[in-house]
């Protein structure tokens, strides 16, 4: 036993391999848990039962669905770009794991701590757009192409308010290091209670909803207009990877909000948060945020594309810019 631990500590490559395997497992587990919760909560909102057959309250349903989707064939459409068609789901899935590697689940529980953690996350999250564009382009399907084009326009528009609202926090803490940002909130007050950062938090939540293509901003996969958008032609595990990546992105979105505004792994009212308890607090906050987004998804109709763009360019970006200026002013004065 001691030998194995020594080996792991000596060879950093082995350590990274193990860390990545654990991260992949977390991403998959997150998709299963979130998929189950989404179906159950959606059912609750819609006055039905949801999955009930497999296991108590149907809790094994998602695992069974995962196994089923593994056994399905990936049908490549005629005249599709075969290489890109197969590349897109991987390109969508990989950045999710890369981002999970830097998320601080607690003060000592993280894959790796970068001093430019936030920039790294934003950069990795942008790869998602490429994946969607490649998926839509290579499918050789007009509906897929529509979805892809919408996704690109939407993601470009909404990345700006996301960045601007996060910059407000960076100005306050003077650091891109996620650990330092969390430590800055270890007192009684989280960043969300400051008025200017609360505005940033709200802007971030709205833009994050759009960034992860969730309703009411789920235009790239608008069912009633584009059948299924960019993943219309995907089947089997390639489709599964898109779904897993979507839940992974949702988790990332919620965890960034938690780290930047809701105190990360800090307990409320300065409650104790050791390495393990911190992870519990962190997960609790992340899941509450994700449940709110599920709730919103199953309640509202979808906005139209020009309305979506108007919201970003006319309201969110100016507001977040002004907010950033006010924050900069406050930081300078105080």
């Amino acid at each position: 036993m001691q030998q194995i631990i020594d080996m792991i500590q000596t060879y950093s490559l082995l350590r990274m391999l193990i860390a990545f395997l654990i991260l992949i497992a977390i991403v998959f587990a997150n998709a299963i848990v979130m998929g189950y919760l989404e179906r159950k909560i959606a059912a609750r909102i819609q006055r039905r039962w949801g999955p009930m057959e497999i296991g108590v309250q149907g809790w094994l349903q998602m695992i069974l669905d995962g196994v089923k989707i593994l056994g399905k064939q990936l049908i490549v459409p005629k005249d599709a770009d075969r290489f890109l068609f197969r590349l897109a789901p991987l390109l969508c899935f990989t950045p999710v794991i890369m981002i999970f590697a830097v998320l601080p689940f607690s003060s000592s529980l993280y894959g790796i701590n970068l001093n430019i953690g936030l920039i790294y996350i934003i950069a990795m999250a942008s790869i998602n757009v490429f994946a969607i564009l490649i998926a839509g382009w290579s499918s050789n399907n007009k509906y897929s192409m529509f979805g892809a084009m919408r996704a690109v326009a939407q993601n470009i528009a909404y990345e700006i308010p996301i960045l601007l609202s996060l910059l407000a926090v960076v100005l306050t803490t003077a650091s891109f290091d996620l650990q330092k940002i969390v430590e800055a909130q270890s007192g009684l007050l989280w960043f969300v209670v400051y008025p200017n950062l609360f505005v940033a938090f709200v802007i971030y939540l709205i833009a994050g909803c759009a960034e992860t293509n969730r309703a009411p901003f789920d235009l790239p996969e608008a069912e009633s207009e584009l059948t299924a958008g960019f993943h219309t032609e995907y089947s089997g595990f390639a489709f599964g990877l898109f779904a897993i990546a979507e839940y992974g992105n949702l988790f990332i979105m919620a965890s960034i909000a938690t780290i930047m505004f809701l105190g990360g792994w800090n307990g409320p009212f300065g409650l104790a948060s050791g390495p393990l308890m911190g992870a519990v607090w962190f997960m609790l906050k992340v899941f509450i945020l994700m449940l709110v987004m599920i709730w919103v998804r199953w309640t509202y109709p979808r906005v139209r594309f020009d309305q979506l763009m108007n919201l970003a360019w006319k309201y969110l970006i100016p507001f977040s810019l002004v907010n950033l200026l006010i924050t900069a002013f406050l930081v300078k004065m105080i």
Binding site: Q46, R47, A222, T299, Y300, R302, V303, R304, F305
Partner: protein, 372 residues
Amino acid sequence: MATMTKFQTNDKHRFLLNMGPQHPATHGVLRVILEMDGEYAMGIDPVLGYGHRMQEKMAESRVWQGFYPNTGRMDYVGAMPFNHGYVALIERMAGIEVPERAEYIRVITSEMNRISSHLLGIGAYVLDLGAFTPILYAFDDREDILDALEDITGSRLTYCYYRVGGVLKDIDDTFIKRTRAFIANFRKRIPMFNDLVTGNIIFIKRTEGVGIITADMARRYGATGPTLRGSGIPYDIRKSEPYSVYSHFDFDIPTGKNGDSLDRYNVRIMEMEQSLRIIEQALDKLPEGPVLAKPKKTKLQEGDCSFSVETARGVLTYYLVGDGSEVPYKLKIRVPSFSNLSLMEEMCTGMLIADLVSAMGSLDLVIPEIDR
């Protein structure tokens, strides 16, 4: 295909998008060929015939009684008025008197069917706009209607309940009790539905000013039903030439102002309230007596005859030519959705595809009724 070549000669930057017959927004089997310029639909061409079953020819090749079940299979969402039109047509032709109790039962069941049809139409419309939940609330209420009607008619969707001279089976106390309970319950549900959906800012933004049908346009295309009334024309067969016992009841004809999708949606909501009023009055006044008159003649006389009823989607007209035998010489069916669909090209040209879905959904089309 002719339409394909027509589009291909146009501007090179435009491309064709085939929407349907398996598209989620074209409920049933409507196919629309769109000529797209980016996300704008510049040319619209509906293609029909995927659900064609030759109902009119079927009517000409069997005795008139054999056509009963077919009437409920054209508009499967609101089958009762289709039953009603056919039996009333034969009654008018043969001069058969219908017992009053049977007429009252016809009105009650027709109006309940109208509510269930509107509930489905509204639910599916909001689903088209991307809200998944309201349709299940609508179905929750619709279930009450279907359960009540199933008890007396034996079917849940494609009814074959009316007979020439009355109805198949008398209604019982359980049905009356159930219907009254439904009315009381549904009165409370409409405000809730309005709170959840109608007042929603995203919903209003998606429907207000989208798919405007002017009164002139509606007249030119022969649109009827909520599509016509949404444009502000208070035309309803139940009022303008009352059939059955509709003249006995006090009800209003709700109309819209601008003729946009939101108006058509609101007209449907208000019509459900009026239907509740009619059912309530009919239950209060329900006379005693037989429900099925004994028909004397079984042969159709020579000559022609027509009868119009108001279905959930508009005016339905049956036109029958008899030649003295039991088999109709010709039965022509004029269905409301066909005229309403023909509005689409003028209404939707130049629209965003998202608005196209919104406008098309607000017409509440039932495709098998168009195809027959």
